[in-house]
Amino acid sequence: MEKYTFKDFKSDQEVRWCPGCGDHAVLAALQRAMPRVSEILGYDKERYVVVSGIGCSSRLPYYMDTYGFHSIHGRATAVSTGIKVANPELSVWQACGDGDALAIGGNHFIHAIRRNIDINIILFNNRIYGLTKGQYSPTSKFGAITKTSPYGTVEHPFNPGSLVLGAKGTFFARGLDSELKLNEDIMVAAAVHNGTSVIEMLTNCVIFNNGAHAEISDREYRADRTIVLRHGEKMIFGRNRDKGLVLDGLRLKVVTIGEKGITEDDVLTHDAHSDNIGIHMMLADMKYPEYPVALGVIRDVNDVTYDAAVRMQVEQVTAKSRIHCVDDLLRSGTVWEVK
């Protein structure tokens, strides 16, 4: 197998996102993750297929020097599903936006997760419709003022993580556009995971929703307002690494280590592989200011994948059946001869 670098995954197409758009960083992370994935899983470059829907982020396949399919609005998940079922050897990646995946494509999104088909979905969440120039999306905050909500939206937003886990997703991670290294690690983990991997990438839209995630992403207070979860590690955060998460009854609670007799031992340890979806749901749901926003791999559990089950069923039925070609089929059941 060839050894790749990020340059091998850069296409010759000019990248046409706005300067300062969060998508640039996500693309860079993906181009850096793929050589690592190839090394770990032994994938040649021709096994990668990058699929997208419609929207700014859906331009991504043109910038990857891999097989690519830029489909139609909302339907990327269905196209990815067909590709993976047809050829399970392929490593299928999908770029889609919050409008693309959660509004027009919401149905396909939840059903892919329900089936647990082995594809990797990168959901670019900038809480706005960018390509149509600034209308609110299903993740825009209640009250957000946009071109189609000049007096503020009166809709409650989706939290993509809750949606994924509510559909019994087996892998959910959250990244932040500017966290290049973290994003790269998340993408590698998503590739290694068998089943539908959803990565929510919090991205900024400099033109129509600048500061989309500023309250947590600003360098000045990012460490205090986010927590990077790593499997097997304590849930500790803060610029002084002195804050932690504990369970208080049935709820999570932020505590300060060293205060009120709290020690590091009291702080929860992240178990991404736990089948307890409740704790993952609570972590995915954490919102600033009550909680830090969780980044990293929140859930990563194994379950039967759709593509493997499809293949297995074909093999099992084939082994038992007496019909192995169309001539057999045509002569099966009730037939009679006219002499």
Binding site: V49, Y67, F69, A78, G82, N87, H108, V310, V314, E337
Partner: protein
């Protein structure tokens, strides 16, 4: 009374009852048995959309018509020789299908006050329907079935479910059918899971047969001799089953695994169900979350190298429109099957029509021509599906196959072909010589692009819904767009070079040419044959290929003084012909009732032109 056994060329039998009475099963058993006996036949299930409509009501009547003959049978028949009416509502809704000489078999027990009221009868149904001149056989079928099974240990509900076997037994006596086939069927159906049901069903069947033999009410019985079919192995096949099998055949002949992404919809669902059985032939069926996912998963599978299909009916085709445009733009092989039903909107889901032709031809945004082909009989669905897949794979394009509820649910005996008689299918795979791969470079003769499969080194490329140039690079350059629009259209148009010419039944020139397409073939064929036999100067041309039209179409049309286009819509094919071949004028005969043509209606329409 003197009992006669009459030899007859053909008979039409209509089984009608409540939607829970098992009429579809009874009818298909009679059909299968007759097929094995050697008759030619055609069936027409005519059932309501409700699974169990309110008991005894007019809207809940389910019918199954079967036409058997010793000669050539191409339609389920206009009117019936025997009507089995399991209740008053069934008699009322079906009396209009009786021949003057017909026999009516009635379950007397259901003609109680309640049953009469539900059907809207006052006192004497026979008089109210003006069918006194028919042979009415009144039998207490419910009571006799109860009597027959009183020692069976079955509860009354289970006993009543066996009523249909009593009537089937009676029908078998009337038409001199041996019961052995039905025995075998009952053993197969119930043998494993409900062995206790085999004996009671057999008993009721026998008792029905003997009852018919003993009563004096049935004046004559009939024999329909086996037809003189070409030698070979035969089976009965429905259109939906044949469609599914045609794709399996194309998969085998192309070496491409079959992928079917579909959403359940009447009357197309049976294709998905049939394919789901045959995983041993490598088929992957994906029951999608909606119609759009059905086609989009299929498009994904096509990109990855499968023979990809999606099956639907009219409303589903509407939902798939945008994705069909994507298949046109990405130039991927895909077959969309539309088993048409009465529309618009939900329409009458279980009834047949040819009203989706316009949608198939034009229903997309942009300049978006798609190849359209149509099946003309249940068994012909096999070849049509095979050819649709062949054209899609060899010409790298989506193809719409139009079927109809009438074809999908209908059945006919089929001489089983051998796969060695079908051509190999050779998709235009990209090879070493195509590296660096430019996905939209075309063969100058066919305009077909190459298929570069993901997973193979060297053909990495991007496709998508945005306009591109030949190299596969995005382009909004005005002249490039216009060129690509022309090329995509030209690719479809050039299919005319590979499809068979239009054939004419009858003289190649003359007074009148009857034109049809799709599932009206059997009725049109019979009507024209009758008219020809009566000395009319009429010929018939039937279109299996709609877009593009066969190359000789204009040449055929030019031979006739008048052209009469007959279709089950308001004139969609006629209008299409007017657009393409405006040098001819087209007469129309149309019907939009959710029902197939009747031969006598067509004959009258033809007569009018003389």
């Amino acid at each position: 009374m003197q009992h006669k056994v009459i030899d007859t060329k053909d008979v039409v039998i209509r089984f009608a009852g409540d939607s829970g009475d098992g009429m579809q099963l009874t009818g298909s058993l009679f059909a299968d048995m007759s097929a094995i006996y050697g008759n030619e036949l055609s069936t027409f299930p005519d059932y309501p959309a409700e699974i169990r409509a309110p008991h005894g009501t007019l809207s809940g009547v389910s019918g199954f018509q079967v036409h058997i003959g010793s000669g050539h049978v191409t339609t389920p028949g206009d009117l019936c020789d025997l009507l089995v009416a399991m209740n008053p509502a069934a008699l009322k809704t079906n009396a209009k299908w009786l021949k003057r000489t017909a026999m009516v078999l009635i379950d007397q027990d259901t003609f109680d006050e309640e049953g009469m009221k539900k059907a809207g009868f006052k006192e004497d149904p026979v008089a109210e329907l003006h069918i006194e001149d028919r042979t009415i056989v009144v039998a207490p079928i419910t009571t006799l079935t109860e009597e027959s099974l009183k020692d069976s240990g079955l509860d009354i509900k289970a006993i009543h479910k066996c009523k249909n076997m009593f009537t089937l037994g009676m029908a078998c006596f009337i038409y001199s059918r041996p019961l052995e086939y039905i025995y075998t069927y009952l053993e197969k159906k119930f043998g494993r899971k409900h062995p206790e049901m085999v004996a009671p069903n057999k008993k009721v069947l026998n008792d029905g047969y003997n009852y018919a033999a003993n009563i004096q009410a049935i004046p004559d019985t009939y024999v329909v001799e086996p037809a003189h079919l070409p030698k070979g192995l035969y089976r009965n096949i429905t259109g939906n089953q044949a469609t599914a099998w045609g794709f399996l055949a194309a998969s085998e002949k192309s070496g491409r695994p079959l992928f079917c992404g579909s959403y359940p919809i009447t009357p197309a669902t049976a294709i998905l169900e049939e394919l789901a059985i045959h995983k041993s032939l490598g088929v992957k069926t994906l029951q999608a979350e909606d119609e759009i996912a059905g086609i989009c998963t299929a498009i994904g599978a096509a990109y990855a190298g499968d023979l990809a299909i999606t099956t639907t009916s009219g409303p589903g085709l509407s939902l798939k429109s945008e994705a069909l445009g994507l298949a046109v733009m990405t130039e991927l092989p895909l077959v969309v099957v539309d088993v048409q039903r009465a529309g618009p909107s939900t329409g009458i889901p279980t009834k047949t029509e040819q009203t989706d032709l316009d949608q198939a031809l034009y229903g997309r945004n942009g300049e978006c021509p798609i190849a359209v082909i149509a099946a003309h009989s249940p068994a012909h669905c096999f070849d049509t599906a095979f050819n649709a897949a062949r054209l899609a794979l060899e010409h790298m394009m989506p193809v719409i196959m139009l079927s109809e509820g009438f074809l999908g649910n209908g059945s006919e005996p089929w001489r089983i072909p051998s796969m060695k008689d079908y051509p190999e299918i050779r998709p235009p795979f990209a090879d070493e010589g195509d590296i660096p791969f430019k996905p939209f470079r075309r063969d100058p003769v066919t305009m077909v692009r190459k298929w570069g499969l993901p997973g193979i080194k060297g053909f990495e490329h991007r496709v998508g819904g945005l306009e591109k140039n030949h190299d596969g690079v995005l382009s909004s350059e005005p002249l490039n767009h216009e060129m690509m629009v022309h090329e995509r259209a030209e690719k479809v148009a050039r299919l005319a070079d590979v499809i068979p010419p239009l054939e004419v039944m009858g003289a190649g020139s003359g007074k009148l040419l009857v034109v049809g397409w799709g599932g009206t073939y059997g009725h049109l064929y019979t009507a024209v044959a009758q008219e020809q036999a009566a000395g009319r100067d009429v010929s018939y041309a039937h279109f299996d290929y709609i877009n593009p039209l066969p190359k000789n179409t204009a040449e055929v049309f030019a031979g006739f003084e008048k052209i009469l286009v007959c279709e089950l819509n308001n004139g969609q094919f006629a209008n299409y012909l007017r657009g393409l071949l405006p040098q001819f004028s087209y007469l129309q005969y149309n019907k939009v009732q959710g029902q197939p043509f009747l031969v006598h209606e067509l004959a009258a329409a033809i007569d009018k032109e003389f």
